[in-house]
Symmetry: C2
Subunit: 367 residues, 2 copies
DNA sequence: GTGAAAGCGCTAACAC
DNA sequence: GTGTTAGCGCTTTCAC
């Protein structure tokens, strides 16, 4: 009671120790749940903690433990600065704020329900473990350097990387720098790094087999961007299956995984193949766009044209009719990716692992 | 060259200082861009930095500056644990991962394009300033305590709060604890805290006036949830305007800002008022649902029934026909919210401010 | 089982 | 303009 004016600002271990009549070390042990502390003293310390309103200073702790207890969730873009030019594909709806060319990329990213699902999976895994992701974007060389710097500074212990393009240099940069990272999707060039991925080809096979099973014979596909591994794989899987079933030639229109590009692609297919009766779109957004265009052209879905999407995102349910689609368990995959990263942080030596998820056909009304 | 074995692990200021032949203080000055350093020495130091591959340790810096140089972006839910029961409104599509009742909330949040836009605005403002948001959710008392603890630990310097419900206790908790925060949307109970918001009533007025201007006379509305301020305000603004124009009675069906709830609401309205010719939905997702149901009931949009949405989210463009809607400049508002927070961090004493944005009518095909 | 003491890497007075 | 020094708050040997 005499000299408590030094307990000014936020309370420190020292303050708690004084209040409890023990040493800092003991308080630290109790706070960190180390055994070897007399239960009675534990209780006293806990009292003191709540009385003083103590909260451990994260920076101080990090400094000594050399752990930030934080992970970065980074959405990575294409390989070069060139993509700055491709932004016109996204309506630039953002008025005043600074940020320049960057603004479009982040807007573009969240326009796809996919990323929200990734965030959901990551957060749901991290949260019970008392961690929270730092959200970063890395679509330019500069932004990638910032990500590397961020990790090198020890601001985060590792990175979860979601690449939107093949040839993404980020995984390479990270491993080179000896930083922990796990990818969503297999890297284009083999890097010694853990990742989760979907068996895209199997998914496309399910779609093809379903369209054939419901009696469609004039089937076309709207592929994803062919510079994206997922786009390639889904197309390859679809074609292979069609070929194996006696359809060596499949009309293809390339899309960019956006609804708008799906609409355009559908328009092209319809112009060249007005009699088609089945369409596989490499994601739900494009399938939704295809449905719109089909209806505008007087085709009923599924009566005249059956449509199958991919992902089973919110778009699949939002679409009328609801989409038959191939389910990608994004949340579970994102959770697994997070688990792999935390594992690696716990055991730095452990080898890179990859986990491949199997897709599943979800039959709704569109096919 | 003789004794460089102490430059083991990651290089520290000390290592750079030794390499440059100066003191740690000088290196620190150069790294932090403080003037008062001889240009020649600056150069030498910069060389040494790149030679050693030095990256400042964030924890050490934070410890002394007492700044984390990080902000939390928190999506806040309702007031009590009760909301765990409301999760049935969201399809539970998440299989394995742990996280229990929480998983649904984060999925629910990102199902609405609104949050992606908030993230975009925040990130685009933060990025050029070398900062990145830590993503947190606070839909339960426990989660809210974690947010408070996180800030009290100094893991972040302040919080950007997006509330999905009125009566959110989080703003109060934060200000009580003397933590910096800015809200997206006015707090239900007046708290001395900065916020950005939209003039919702004005937006609803624009919608009403437009429906009347295009000659509609039997107009109904699908409101947002009435326990959400934005829901209330949009309804109030709509009713007031209708009343002022001689329509004291407006059929109302309450929705929950989801497409599904918009469909249900439209169904109810149609059952009771089969002759309606105009609908104002309090957000685009519900407007889209309404369009679907109208079409299923043989009504053409806009010929038979004009539909106006709210937000001008991606759903407005995804809808067929594209929605006439009231634009909420979410990205700009989120950027402003971020600016307010950084301002406050820079000048701790500064008073709470609020910035209200004006909505704008965007006329497309649906009305 | 508990305490004393040595830093973790950095910034910021303060001397020079 | 540059160097010296004293911590920031915490964990963690190491004695006891």
């Amino acid at each position: 009671m005499t000299d408590d004016r030094r307990s000014a600002g936020t309370p420190t271990l020292e303050d708690v120790a004084r209040a409890a009549g023990v040493s800092r070390a003991t308080v630290s042990r109790v706070v960190n749940g180390v055994r070897n502390v007399d239960p009675a003293i534990q209780e006293v310390v806990r009292q003191a903690v709540s009385v003083t309103g103590y909260a451990p200073n994260r920076a101080a702790r990090s400094l000594v433990t050399r752990r930030a207890d934080a992970v970065a969730l980074v959405v990575s873009g294409a390989g070069t600065e060139a993509e700055a030019g491709q932004e016109d594909s996204v309506p630039q709806r953002f008025g005043g704020a600074p940020g320049g060319p960057g603004s479009s990329f982040t807007a573009q990213v969240f326009a796809d329900p996919f990323f929200g699902r990734v965030v959901t999976g990551v957060v749901d895994y991290l949260r019970p473990r008392g961690m929270h992701p730092v959200l970063m974007f890395a679509e330019t060389a500069r932004a990638r350097d910032e990500v590397v710097a961020y990790l090198r500074q020890g601001s985060a212990d590792g990175a979860l990387i979601v690449s939107t393009h093949a040839e993404d240099p980020l995984p390479g940069l990270l491993t080179e720098a000896g930083l922990a990272a796990v990818l969503y999707a297999r890297p284009a060039r083999p890097v010694r790094i853990s990742y989760v991925d979907l068996a895209h080809q199997d998914g496309a096979r399910l779609a093809a087999e379903h369209l054939l099973a419901v009696g469609r014979r004039r089937i076309a596909t709207i592929s994803g961007p062919l510079d994206v591994p997922a786009g390639q794989a889904r197309l390859a899987g679809f074609r292979d299956t069609m070929e194996r079933h006696g359809h060596p030639y499949v009309p293809i229109a390339e899309g960019r995984f956006t609804q708008e590009s799906g609409e355009a692609a559908m328009g092209r297919l319809l112009a060249e193949h007005p009699d088609l009766d089945g369409v596989f779109a490499a994601n739900d957004l494009m399938a939704m766009g295809a449905c719109h265009v089909l209806r505008e052209h007087g085709r009923r879905v599924p009566e005249d044209v059956a449509v199958v999407g991919f992902d089973d995102s919110s778009a699949a349910l939002a679409c009328r009719p609801p989409l038959t689609t191939v389910r990608q368990p994004v949340e579970a995959m994102a959770a697994e990716m997070t688990r792999l990263l935390l594992d690696r942080l716990a055991r730095p030596g452990s080898p890179a692992t990859s986990v491949i998820f199997e897709p599943e056909l979800v039959v709704r009304a569109s096919a």
